[in-house]
Amino acid sequence: MLGIQRQVNLPALNTILLSFPCNLGVLCGKKQARSEHMATPVLDNPLRAGLRIGRTPEPCTMVIFGASGDLTSRKLVPALYNLARERRLPGGFSVVGFARRDWSDDYFRDLLREAVNANSRSGPVDPELWASFAQGIQYHRGSFDEADAYTSLAARLAAIDAERGTSGNRVFYLATPPEAYPTIVAQLGAHGLAHSNGWTRIIIEKPFGHDLASAQALNTEVLSVFREDQVYRIDHYLGKETVQNILIFRFANGIFEPIWNRSHIDHVQITVAETIGVEDRGGYYDTSGALRDMIQNHLMQLLCLVAMEPPSLYDADAVRDEKVKVLRAVRRLSVNDTVRGQYGPGSANGLPVRGYREEKGVSPTSQTETYVALKLFIDNWRWAGVPFYLRSGKRLPRRVSEIAIQFKAAPTMIFADTPLNDLDPNVLAIKIQPDEGISLKFSSKTPGQSQIRPVTMDFRYGASFGVTSPEAYERLLLDCMLGDGTLFTRRDEVETSWALLTPILQAWAEGPPQPFPNYEAGSWGPAAADEFIARDGRSWRRL
């Protein structure tokens, strides 16, 4: 039903032609062919009406490329198993793991069973349920560039369709290193796997490109085989409950939106702090850095959700249209709006830890940043003049992600003994992890004395809803199978975000080497970052 409107990259002329009454052979054929392939998320099952019964997708096969990898066993299969456990997956749902190693179906199943036992939020598997789930799991051996492997994959998928009733519905999940994406996509296209008599979708993991040119190139390659509405670029931050709650909080309450603008807000701080170092991803991280690894995707997504205008409806394209508008309105960034850092030796959780340059896989003279702070402005009527400070780093003292909206101070102070600048302004903090919740700081009188003190009013998810939230991957995998792209990034979002940050990356690469390391592991980043925000008469929130 959303079919033709969803075609964002379809030229306008084409759209008009397609919507003509069907009386010309050529056009008719084309229209039918297209609508067959269209993702139709709504299946008119009359038993689905009403409350309580959660949505379940049509039976489908999920093909995981890179099935021998960490992501498959740590996140994907546990998420799928938990969905099955909660009856969110239909009978007939199947998984095909595609990887190079010489494994048998049984060996692969045993391995996944171990993985689910170790990583599932619901604990060890229920043997009966697993037995039924595992019947739908197969292993397909092949190299990503080996044509024969795709021919046999097509045959295998057709066999599953016949045996398990998946009617041609497929999800291809690229859980491989990014270098393999173009090869896999091209091979899928060459073997006619990009379209079927059901629906076909492809999920692409981050990183999506490493700068604007590479992201555009990857998009071109993917979109030469798949249509945009088949492509699901995953950013697991969007699968988190609190991130989704930002939109509910803003647009389902009447009291916040009227003050959500430059008249009332002084500035916004978005922080994503990690305590871990680069772990065993040193080799990859050294070619990437904090700007690419965190800012370009996760922090930019948070920025969009906080700053976007209300969409006209809660629908994949309406929401993403508004998000892209935010990115397009961001003022061009210069190097002077950024601070970078790299951690040296220090301590974490009371134990000494190595510096970044001593990590495995990292160059001893590495210039890669593990910390970035930046300031940006959104030049539109709502936000003109309001700075947004973003920071993200590794080996910081606490693992915390939050968005803090700092409001303007009271315009005048009538309480004589309390000078205006001693008062804390109101802060609305949206905490994303680890303690999900929302808190509002306001001033209050201390008992007895005539003093004013800031107090916080806390809403904690854990306190008001005792249920454990599903993992981000569960939500996202289910959404993709249901054909709902709202929580995935669209082509223009990815490219606009890269377009903003690529000039910084270039300037850094061309600029003089930095005196790295410049912060101690376990501290709140380089001193330069504190000076950077102090120049504006503000300071980072103590978290």
Binding site: G50, L51, E58, P59, R87, Q135, S167
Partner: protein, 379 residues
């Protein structure tokens, strides 16, 4: 206090004091205690057993819906007896997380007039929060306390599996729900227990090629576990649900009981014929002997005309799982195992407390099932 009178303010004072003590002396774990009430729950317990059950589920309810629970033990008796006590109840979430606390007030009464009980309950409700009345046991609508309180409530929860005269009471429940029209919203825990069965049934028809078969079902067989008191309410509600979703209407006078089997005929629109054409769906509901199981045990939807198609959900030998099987003539049968836990009372209540408004799917199913029950209950 004087005999027979309870000082409501004393109860409130007691609760307030408990919170203040908690705040002054956080418990040994050093965890903050948060009072976060999201609703008022009144439990009308017909006897001490039910009061104990209500007390037993309170921690699990508090974890998901921190609430003020007022349990009224409303026992019959010649002499009037009244007692009240209050406690704060905290549940510890995972280590290191905040404690979630609710409050409980128990009013133990014997032979007290409903008006007197209501006058105790009403001032105890926390203002500006939804009020839910849970009335387990048989004959909920005949209870004077329920009659007095239901208008003030946002939701009334009953449990059709505890009905003494299931068919007659189901018919009453249907009439009550229709008359109340959402004020209050009505919940039946017997319906809540059907959710997994409805989910598994609905899932068959998310498969595009199977969907057409849903509109050409000819036969339905439902088997339910019968202990010493057969209660076909769940099965009737299930039929009511299918019929209301698929626009089937009961055939007048084609409802009957043969031995232990309930036989029903419904009219359904015919597929692929002129609009005036109708076809019949035959429904057989029968009890089976199954130890340790309550509620539905097996469900078969069958299309026989033209192309054979059969959809089955049945409990496996170990309770806790169900096997679903779709068999279409000429194709490989599709089978799988799904979890279908025997739900704890707390889970059932929690899922009802999550709802804020009238459950229209339930209302439609109940309306139809109530009509069938009325005809079945006729002598």
């Amino acid at each position: 206090m004087s005999e027979g009178a309870i000082d409501i303010n004393a109860i409130e004072r007691e609760l307030r004091q408990m919170w203040q003590e908690q705040a002054a002396h956080p418990d040994a774990g050093g965890q903050a205690v948060i009072r976060a009430l999201t609703l008022n729950l009144i439990v009308r317990a017909p006897d001490d057993d039910w009061a104990e059950q209500a007390l037993a589920v309170a921690p699990a309810l508090t974890a998901q819906h921190p609430n003020r629970t007022v349990i009224v033990i409303d026992r019959p008796g010649p002499a009037t007896e009244l007692q009240a006590n209050a406690q704060a109840l905290c549940t510890l979430a995972n280590a290191g997380r905040t404690q979630v606390c609710g409050e409980q007030v128990t009013i133990s009464a014997r032979g007290a007039p409903a008006g007197q009980l209501a006058s105790l309950v009403l001032p105890l409700l926390v203002p500006d929060l939804p009020v839910v009345l849970w009335a387990p046991g048989p004959q909920p609508f005949a209870q004077p306390l329920v009659q007095r309180l239901y208008r003030l409530c946002d939701r009334l929860i009953v449990d059709s599996t505890t009905f003494a005269d299931p068919l007659r009471e189901l018919a009453e429940l249907a009439v009550f729900e229709q008359t109340a029209n959402g004020a209050p919203a009505v919940s039946d825990l017997g319906w809540t227990r059907l959710t997994p069965w409805r989910e598994l049934t609905a899932q068959f028809f998310d498969t595009r090629p199977f969907l057409p078969h849903l509109h050409r079902i000819d036969e339905i067989v439902i088997e339910y576990a019968a202990g010493n008191r057969p209660n076909p309410v769940a099965a009737l509600l299930f039929v009511g649900w299918l019929a209301s979703c698929l626009k089937w209407t009961p055939l007048e006078d084609a409802v009957g009981i043969e031995g232990e089997t309930i036989q029903i005929y419904l009219r359904r629109p015919a597929v692929g014929v002129g609009p005036a054409a109708i076809r019949l769906v035959s429904v057989a509901i029968r009890p089976v002997d199954l130890a340790g199981v309550e509620g539905l045990a097996r469900l078969v939807l069958r299309a026989v005309d033209n192309q054979q198609a059969e959809f089955v959900v049945e409990l496996t030998s170990d309770a806790g799982h169900a096997c679903t099987r779709a068999t279409i003539a000429g194709a490989h049968p599709i089978e799988r195992t799904a979890t279908i836990d025997r739900p704890a009372l707390a889970d059932l209540l929690n899922s009802e407390l999550r709802l804020l408004s009238r459950d229209r799917t339930f209302a439609a199913a109940l309306n139809l099932a109530g009509g069938l029950a009325r005809r079945l209950a006729l002598p």
